[in-house]
């Protein structure tokens, strides 16, 4: 059952949410749109194409302290980090919601990540269906759609008079304000996307593991961490202890398989020393290891990496290359 919230309704609703919860919403920062906790509803950028970073940072922040250890009068005290408030992520697109769902596969399987679990359970997702498809978008090829409500608690769709409110979960239902009119109009057709063929990517990936393709592709790769940090499904992190005059803090921060120091072991051994091996790791994780473990490909087709890569390593091209190379291989 769909409801309709006028623009004013929505603002009042968000305002009331803001009273009791942290609200994470798209905010315009110079020429970019970022998910940030807001203090006023006016800060929200309703009119945006896509955010530079996905909302994953709310659940897995770029940096967070896991716990601190301190020595007080001979006693050693460990204080774990806590999630203190409920939150709402507002304005995420269906692809981002799917990204969070994919992260769940890893973080919520037992033993689950306590901090992540805590944040996830205390956060509701109020999404926005996409108004238009961007040239880099390919979500429909990755199991999502511009109007896919699957992983949301509530999905809003912008229409002329306001927003269609589609309540998806019980958690969502509890958040919907009373008194919204029912929406009886037509649900607008979602924008059309060009589909890319995705058949056999996993098997192609497996077959081409030792192919020189990776070294060639990596030639132009700079091995920055941009693709991983903008990606809604990349969740690697590094953990380190900081000691400051006796107070020790365990911190985790984002890390990416593209950096040379990633998974460097204490003895100095680095499992992936060449550029090709590192780049292959990225795609192997997305198309091979993750689906082997959790069924789905770890890509939601948001196109952020396509747009952000400084040297245009286009994941869609990689998929197509893999398929072509496999055909060539099997053909020969």
């Amino acid at each position: 059952m769909n409801l309709l919230a006028s623009k004013d309704d929505l603002i009042r609703w968000l305002d009331s949410l803001l009273q009791e919860r942290i609200v994470i919403a798209p905010v315009r920062v110079q020429e970019q749109t970022m998910f940030q906790p807001i203090s006023k509803v006016e800060e929200i950028a309703f009119d945006f194409d896509n955010t530079t970073l996905s909302p994953k940072g709310w659940f897995l922040p770029p940096t967070e302290a896991l716990f601190t250890v301190q020595r007080d009068d001979g006693q050693v005290n460990l204080v774990p980090a806590l999630v203190e408030r409920d939150a709402v992520v507002f304005g995420l697109h269906p692809c981002d919601a799917r990204g969070i769902a994919l992260m769940d596969s890893s973080f919520l399987q037992e033993p689950s990540d306590a901090l992540y679990r805590e944040r996830r359970s205390r956060t509701a997702l109020i999404g926005l269906a996409c108004r238009q498809a961007l040239p880099e978008c390919f979500c429909t090829s990755m199991g999502s759609a511009p109007d896919d409500p699957s992983h949301m608690d509530i999905l809003l769709t912008e229409v002329k008079d306001g927003y269609i409110v589609q309540v998806v979960t019980e958690k969502g239902k509890a958040l919907v304000p009373k008194g919204l009119a029912k929406y009886k109009g037509k649900v607008p057709t979602p924008p059309k996307l060009q589909a890319i063929p995705t058949m056999e990517v996993t098997s192609a990936m497996r077959g081409l593991f030792n192919d020189p393709y990776w070294e060639r592709l990596a030639d132009r790769c700079l091995h920055c961490n941009v693709c991983a940090y903008v990606c809604p499904t990349c969740y690697c992190f590094d953990v380190r202890d900081y000691s400051d005059k006796g107070k020790v803090e365990r911190v985790r921060s984002w890390e990416s398989c593209q950096s040379p120091g990633f998974s460097l072991t204490a003895g100095g051994y680095a499992p992936r020393t060449t550029k090709g091996e590192r780049l292959r790791q990225r795609f192997s994780h997305k198309f091979l290891y993750f689906p082997e473990r959790f069924r789905d490909v770890a890509c939601v087709g948001c196109g952020r990496c396509v747009k952000a890569c400084p040297v245009n390593i286009d994941i869609r091209e990689v998929i197509s290359d893999l398929q072509q190379l496999t055909e060539v291989k099997s053909g020969s």
Partner: protein, 286 residues
């Protein structure tokens, strides 16, 4: 697009590959958006046909030479990029005889990002004095007399006048996600282990936080003092739009004024931190 120029590049690249003079040619090809350019490595003579050159070829390819040490490579080099060549020659990171430089006389490049290109020249191109690369083995393109605008560093003057500079910069650095794209793209950044990722000593923690990021960005820039060749690739690749040129250009300006030095103009001249003058006047007053 200057097809004649592109043909010259392709012909040269093909020749070099056919003759076996080089193992590969580093140049540009059309990006997946069909609109802009991206770096391209040609290893077979036939691949030379993919090479292009136009005003969207903004990347400084010289950085890639560091990946190909020991291999003889040809590389397409714009006048600005040639300063990176000189820098790396000065710092003994590349050997001149291992590089075949296809120099391009470039009328300037425009701002681009994926699927988007502007029509106006990049700011650095407007003040560029070089009509052709400072060093090359083969020159393509027409050498045009440049009518460079005067470099006034008005952006630096403005940034100096910001009321609360610490607040301004901590806000900028606060956005940094430490993806290190700025470092990875920089031809002057080639330490095996960057100070930011060293464990002993731990100069910069893995905490992605404004104060931590400030140490990172300040020292990154300072390591490039007198070495930054002004390609501005760092600012271009920054996914969160930190105005890195305001940092690099501030030091560029100071180095020029204090030490009369500009990086990459002469492979023989050493950067300012390699030397000193006994009688130079450097004030430490307020």
């Amino acid at each position: 697009m200057d097809m004649e120029l592109i043909q010259q590049i392709r012909d040269k690249a093909r020749n070099l590959l056919e003759e076996g003079t080089v193992e590969g040619v580093i140049g540009y090809e059309r990006a997946s958006d069909g609109l802009t350019a991206r770096p391209f490595f040609a290893y077979e003579p036939a691949a030379a046909e993919r090479l292009i050159f136009d005003e969207t070829c903004i990347h400084d390819l010289v950085k890639y030479l560091l990946d190909k040490k020991g291999k003889k490579m040809a590389i397409v080099v714009k006048p600005c990029d040639s300063r990176a060549i000189n820098l790396l020659l000065n710092e003994e990171q590349i050997k001149r005889d291992k590089v075949f430089i296809i120099g391009v006389s470039c009328p300037g490049v425009v701002e681009t990002s994926w699927n988007r290109r502007s029509e106006t020249l990049q700011a650095r191109c407007r003040t560029c004095q070089l009509s052709k690369p400072l060093v090359y083995d083969f020159l393509v393109g027409r050498e045009v007399a440049r009518q460079a605008e005067e470099e006034t560093y008005s952006d630096i003057t403005e940034a100096k006048a910001i009321a609360n500079k610490e607040e301004f910069w901590l806000e900028q650095f606060g956005r940094c996600i430490r993806c290190y794209a700025c470092r990875q793209v920089c031809p002057g950044c080639y330490c095996p282990v960057c100070f930011a990722e060293r464990l002993e000593p731990l100069w910069v923690g893995i905490r992605i936080a404004p104060e931590e990021n400030r140490v990172w960005q300040t020292m990154r820039t300072f390591h490039l003092a007198g070495r930054c060749i002004g390609c501005n690739e760092c600012e271009r690749v920054c996914p969160v739009d930190i105005p890195l040129s305001l940092l690099n250009r501030k030091l560029e300006k100071d180095v020029k004024e204090l030490f009369a030095f500009q990086a990459g103009l002469d492979p023989e001249e050493s950067p300012p931190f390699a030397t000193f003058k006994k009688d130079e006047k450097l004030e430490f007053g307020a």
